[in-house]
Symmetry: C2
Subunit: 394 residues, 2 copies
């Protein structure tokens, strides 16, 4: 069977490796960090810097197909490896997803629902575009933005000046997009897996709640009418088809209460659906599929990579599951090097805790997650909040 290489040995690469091993597909991990969770755990791991072309070429030589667990990889060296093992999802998908301008231009070009936007490539272009675009807007850097990094709400000139100062300080290249503000009801994500022969399957919707711009809770099923869920799943599948996906694509959506005037929405039951962004890899919001769905996001991607047919993921029964992130802050609140889980006994709705084995707890660092199970989404979310409160109190 094909040896699968995974660029990145964090929690997403680790859980993907587990799913691949379950299909008896041999795995090789590449990471810069000798203490990355998958490197510590699995026998077949290589370490080298992310810009070490020799080490990366050696890794590619060892593999029959290569995938990645994060999209902030420099695509250029990957292009240079053309002729070697296939990269799944393709470098085109990677380059589209890692660049907000390309992403939005792709959505617009394929008539997929998206928020109205403009692109600026310099400080001067940004100032000009701001006046032309109209206030307020959301300003986002084209690259390297995740967990709310490089995002600004701009109500007027004062906000713009402050954002420009902030971008200067971090030596930004001022490549950015301006986005119309959406009257947000909620954010949902929808995962699609698609095989080389174009067979696509779509997961149930997740609803994502953020805190401080970091994913806080993911609950499934999302609290939207079935008609909205159908539209979201349909758009997710069309997006995967349009980008000729092989592998896994997490499509993140805004669901708006009112129609954003200049944006391209799809409507259902008085709600307005827009694709926000694309992640062509397993996603932290998708951890919950390991518990809530008959097939997890990791299983689905592993099946594509190992050449095993896909089948449609279903909910495991009609309850609700909620995934909560465990950031390094929880460790710091406890003051322990290792997380004390003794309060779990008082929280029977918590069905699983997954700790990633990262050695150093830092604020806002994703160190683990947990999943609750309850009859309704609200109950599952309340149980999730209560457990994290209890963990953080000690």
């Amino acid at each position: 069977m094909r040896r699968v290489g995974i660029l990145g040995g964090g929690q997403l690469g680790t859980l993907l490796a587990e799913a691949l091993y379950h299909l008896d597909a041999p795995v090789t991990i590449y990471d810069a960090d000798p203490n990355a969770p998958a490197v510590l755990r699995f026998r077949d791991s290589l370490t080298g810097a992310w810009n070490d072309r020799v080490a990366i070429a050696k890794f590619f030589e060892r593999c029959d197909v290569v995938t990645y667990e994060f999209e902030h990889i420099d695509a250029e060296p990957l292009r240079a490896l053309a002729g070697g093992p296939p990269i799944v999802p393709s470098v085109f998908v990677l380059e589209t997803a890692q660049d907000r301008a390309k992403e939005k231009q792709f959505l617009a070009g394929k008539s997929l629902p998206h928020v109205h936007f403009a692109v600026a490539r310099s400080e001067a272009e940004l100032r000009a575009a701001a006046n032309e675009f109209g206030w307020p807007f959301i300003l986002k850097t084209i690259r390297g933005g995740y967990d709310g990094k490089g995002q600004f709400f701009i109500a007027g000139h004062e906000d713009l000046d402050a954002a420009i100062l902030a971008l200067r300080e971090r030596k930004s290249d001022f490549q950015c997009v301006l986005e119309e503000v959406v009257d947000l009801a909620l954010e949902v994500s929808c995962i699609v897996a698609r095989s080389r022969d174009g067979q696509g399957v779509v997961f149930p919707l997740f609803e994502n709640a953020h805190s401080g711009h970091i994913l806080d809770l993911t609950v499934v099923p999302a609290r939207v009418p079935p008609s909205v869920a159908r539209v979201v799943q349909d758009v997710a599948l069309r997006t995967a088809n349009a980008i000729e996906l092989e592998g896994l694509l997490v499509v993140e959506f805004f669901v708006g209460r009112t129609r954003a005037r200049r944006s391209h929405a799809e409507e259902a039951d008085g709600l307005f659906v827009y694709v926000n962004e694309l992640a062509p890899r397993p996603h932290n919001s998708g951890h919950v599929t390991r518990n809530a769905c008959t097939v997890s996001q990791y299983d689905a991607l592993a099946r594509v990579l190992a050449g095993v047919p896909l089948t449609s993921p279903q909910m495991n029964g009609d309850g609700a599951w909620c995934m909560g992130n465990l950031l390094g802050d929880v460790w710091l609140a406890q003051g322990n090097e290792r997380l004390d889980l003794s309060c779990w006994k008082d929280h029977p709705a918590v069905v699983e805790v997954v700790l990633y084995g990262k050695r150093e707890a830092r604020p806002r660092r994703k160190m683990g997650h947990y999943v609750t199970h309850a009859k309704t989404a609200d109950e599952a979310m309340n149980a999730a909040r209560a457990f994290r409160d209890a963990l953080s109190r000690r």
Copy 2:
């Protein structure tokens, strides 16, 4: 956190190691086979013969607690390591479970339901016991019997002579038990996990269907009335308490249609429940907990070993799940070194296939399993049979 040593790197040790890693508990594997699945996969593995006391002592030195994935281990060398890291479940539990005579004497001593039995320690004792016990009976060797090895139905003297010949041929020591025949309705198993402080949790019942004495299908929930399920769970928990279990115990039950005249049954709804045997480790019938239950057998044992509190495992919704074994015969029927899973696309009820990564397909060797999900137990079992038929046809 405590480093957990696992004696045995087959599928059970591998899946347990995964669950331990998810709790950030470091794991060391010991196996005689350098190609054992867990040895191939995980970084921290030691290999040495099962009777290599030096290698095993070195393994114990590296660990803070040691468990095992199979009970046919020689308990003597483990006793000799007393004073080292604790063995979980205890050597007493191991010695009881690996010896059918001790097992039955334990059940009888604790007034737990069991099938009437007699013990014979030589060929002469066996002949004498047979006449005294009364025909028919089931003859089982005390040690080393699994997957139907060393089991005989004895209707009369002719059967007994044939069994004695067979035992002589395999140089048996003629240590065996005679068991009253039960009018079997079905076989079920029930898993208990229990922590060092005596807190026990019990899993939903599984129903096991055998083929050629090897576990064939396991379906959950078992097709028994709720009153029977309650009795089985209660007996399982009492058994774990009586043996002062720390760790995991799979209690296998006979459910009889009529009361066996001389046996000690517990009755519910006109069915008669007997403990058949004990396995103090994760069990192949328990694979299905990974899909069907909020907590898997591996998670539960990992929590005990890592000192994390237990919570009660629940069903994932009200459907049914069926696990089917994949024996080496399926590989041999396909004629491929690697299993071709392309027929999976026509079997959407199959939610997972787990291949263990064993290098050589042999008849009756457990090489993998798969799980189906359906509305009812019958549908899940039919889907499981259909998938294996399709796999075996190629």
